[in-house]
């Protein structure tokens, strides 16, 4: 896979505390990529090394296969979790300034900002001072400023925090549109539902280490506990008899219309075997593999007792 942005064996410490331990990460071009991890895992520090805010102690960072350079800062758009703007500056002036800092000239900056101000319905704010805007409005403004210089890679740290559902949908729409236009998006969040919804690939870091990387569907499959959910009409006894020694009922509930059962497979027995034997005994309404959610996987991995705790002391 070709990576747009790639970090290899990144280490970073502050004093005696090692924040990043040999972290490697690869962000494929044109995708929405999830960077996950609990609070204090080192996500922000990793993002800061990738955005050249701080330099890593060791390790290499490649952008399009080349060592990351200062001039690459204009290829990046970064929306930090802690948002902030110059409060006393006027909205328009500030938007122009921050785009110019990213390398656009004033005319280009204006031309790029204008459609965003129109799309996000912010045109009337241009002459207002930032401090006159509500928090949500400031978030929206900052999103527009972050994307206006058309970065090749957009790093969004908790982009939906502080937005109401309507604005959340609007921002989500814009993110998907940017992806369609070819922007690579790194998405750092604790909201696992949005990870499942938006991200193709993820990296999960915990305590400064990369503990899981891969595509969301592969990861969910690999964490599958081989559970199948079956809804059927027919007798429970017949259902149980049909399972044989390879399968076992984990849970069964009778509902007015049908019966619902969760079946666990032993020794990697396939769904095909289960279906084949069931279909002869009961009338099946629905059948699906019960994959773990990203939320389950996150809690499972991060909540697991750490064997490495003693290392860190």
């Amino acid at each position: 896979m070709s990576y747009l942005l790639e970090g290899n064996n990144i280490n970073k410490h502050f004093g005696n505390f090692q924040v990043l331990k040999n972290v490697s990460i690869g962000i494929p071009e044109g995708q929405i990529f999830g960077l996950l991890g609990p609070n204090g895992a080192g996500k922000t520090t990793l993002i800061r090394t990738l955005t050249q805010i701080t330099a890593p102690d060791s390790g290499e960072i490649l952008f399009k296969g080349q060592a990351l350079k200062t001039s690459n800062t204009s290829d990046f758009g970064y929306l930090p979790e802690e948002r902030g703007l110059y409060r006393k500056m006027k909205v328009g002036e500030q938007a122009l300034y921050l785009c110019q800092i990213k390398g656009l000239d004033k005319k280009q900056a204006y031309a790029q900002l204008k459609p965003w101000f129109e799309r996000l319905e912010m045109e009337s704010w241009w002459e207002k001072k930032v401090e006159e805007l509500s928090k949500g409005m400031q978030q929206k403004l900052q999103f527009a400023i972050t994307v206006a210089h058309r970065p090749k890679i957009l790093i969004l740290d908790e982009p939906f925090s502080g937005f109401d559902p309507i604005n959340t949908e609007a921002i989500k729409r814009e993110i998907l549109m940017l992806k369609e236009e070819g922007t690579t998006i790194v998405f750092s969040t604790h909201n696992m539902a949005s990870v499942e919804e938006l991200c193709e690939n993820i990296t999960l870091i915990n305590r400064g280490k990369n503990i899981l990387s891969g595509s969301v569907s592969d990861i969910r499959k690999s964490f599958s506990k081989s559970l199948f959910e079956v809804e059927f009409h027919g007798s429970k006894v017949a259902f149980a008899n049909a399972l044989g020694y390879q399968f076992e009922i984990a849970e069964i509930t009778e509902k007015p219309e049908f019966t619902q059962a969760v079946v666990m497979a032993h020794d990697g027995a396939s769904s095909k075997a289960l279906l084949t034997s069931l279909i002869q005994h009961v009338e099946i309404i629905s059948f699906r593999e019960n994959l773990p959610t990203m939320n389950d996987i996150f809690i499972d991995l991060v909540g697991r007792p750490q064997t490495s705790i003693s290392e860190e002391a």
Partner: protein
């Protein structure tokens, strides 16, 4: 590209500050207050609010017939008795009566009887006019030409020096250059203090606003810090320039307005010399009979080399400002809010405060060991060397100036480098207030 970015940062820092109401108010009010105080001082000490119309009772009439006054001070010479003159004074609009008695050439004294006390200046003017009148008439009596008389006069200038031991510089007691130096030194103190604190506030603002992370994902922390320091410094220079310019304009026009054409406003070189100007005027008034254009105090002012003074001022202001504002930027980066800055500001600005306090001492004793050391040490040199340069440094001691300047340059480069290291770590640190030991550790992060 990066030079372009630093330019953008400087521009923003400069424009946002210069456009602030407080800057405009300070820029206008500063000189207004200064000029107002000076003009008021001049006005109350020098000028008569009303014209003087003086009735002269000349017992030797028509001896003083040709007494000439001016538009503001006019004389009417009359051949009347003192009693009659007084009666006339009562019913007329004469402001005073000048009585010149019969034996005036022997007694060399007259009397001025006034309705409302005229200023000392007016009294002196009258004194001089009469004295000159008598002198000229005596010259005619002895058949001496006015030109011969001027050549006969030998004005003598006595400069006084305090003995400070063999080989040591004797101290001239003329305090004029020292006063100017002190004013410049204090100005340096205030400007360094005011604007380096502004740099610190700016850093804290960016940090608490959280804009900092966005900024340094686009520019290097060092560029952001230098952009701020340079931008704010330019604001300081702008304010200084406005003050000087406005003070000059206001003081000049104020003088013209109040004093009319009696005083030559063009001799007013800087606001500092207003006080001096006043002294000169008084001196001139006292030495009117000297009939000499070359006044000794004028020479003294001319001996102050203003171009050099301003050059030295700019050097030490900029050097001191860069040194202190870099340190203050580091302080700003280390804390989350203004209140936490106290413990760091005090130790950093203590030398500056010390220089300010001791500047009066240096003013009195510019060649003492203490003065020499303080003028060489970079943290105090901007204030102290300014005063010493103004007073005058012997050629043999010029090495002290060069050393002081070199040390200041070296130390502000060092301070900028060191602060840059602290700054890049500090701006991303939130939460607990770091100790000085921790901050020193950041240098190696």
């Amino acid at each position: 590209m990066s030079a372009n970015k630093i330019g953008l940062i400087i521009k923003r820092e400069y424009l946002t500050r210069v456009r602030k109401k407080s800057f405009i108010v300070m820029s206008l009010l500063g000189p207004l207050i200064m000029a107002g105080v000076l003009t008021f001082a001049l006005w109350t000490s020098l000028e008569e609010s009303e014209d003087q119309k003086i009735l002269v009772v000349d017992d030797n009439y028509p001896f003083f017939e040709e007494l000439e006054g001016s538009s503001k001070l006019s004389y009417d010479v009359m051949d009347v008795s003192l009693a009659k003159g007084e009666a006339l004074l009562e019913v007329s609009d004469y402001t005073a009566l000048l009585y010149l008695p019969k034996n005036i050439l022997q007694s060399k004294s007259g009397q001025l009887i006034f309705k409302k006390q005229p200023s000392i200046r007016v009294q002196r003017k009258i004194e001089e006019t009469i004295q000159q009148y008598i002198e000229i008439s005596k010259l005619q009596e002895f058949n001496i030409s006015e030109g011969d008389y001027k050549r006969l006069k030998a004005p003598f200038d006595l400069l006084t020096f305090q003995f400070k031991g063999v080989g040591a510089d004797a101290e001239e007691t003329n305090m004029l250059p020292a006063i100017v130096g002190l004013v410049f030194g204090i100005l340096i103190y205030f400007f360094i203090f005011m604007y380096s604190v502004q740099v610190m506030r700016g850093v804290i603002e960016e940090k608490t606003n959280r804009i900092i992370e966005v900024m340094i994902s686009s520019v290097k922390p060092f560029q952001l810090m230098m952009g701020k320091i340079i931008g704010v410094g330019a604001v300081g220079l702008t304010q200084f320039a406005i003050w000087i310019l406005l003070t000059l304009i206001l003081a000049t026009s104020g003088q013209l307005l109040i004093l009319g054409d009696k005083y030559d406003a063009s001799s007013l070189k800087t606001p500092m010399t207003d006080v001096v100007q006043q002294q000169v005027e008084e001196e001139q008034a006292l030495n009117f009979t000297q009939l000499s254009q070359e006044d000794n105090l004028f020479n003294k002012i001319r001996r102050i080399n203003f171009p050099i003074m301003i050059a030295v001022f700019l050097f030490y202001f900029l050097g001191g400002y860069l040194l202190y504002s870099a340190l203050m930027a580091a302080v700003g980066s280390a804390v989350d809010n203004d209140t936490d800055t106290q413990q760091f500001i005090f130790p950093i600005t203590f030398p500056l405060l010390l220089a300010y306090i001791l500047s009066f001492n240096v003013f009195e004793n510019p060649s003492s060991d203490m003065a020499v050391w303080l003028s060489i040490i970079p943290l105090t040199s901007p204030v102290i060397m300014m005063i010493r340069v103004a007073i005058g440094i012997e050629a043999a001691d010029m090495w002290q100036v060069y050393l002081s300047m070199a040390l200041l340059i070296v130390s502000f480069i060092g301070a900028v480098w060191l602060s840059g290291k602290i700054y890049r770590v500090g701006i991303l640190m939130y939460g607990k207030k770091p100790s000085i030991r921790e901050i020193i550790k950041w240098i190696n992060y």
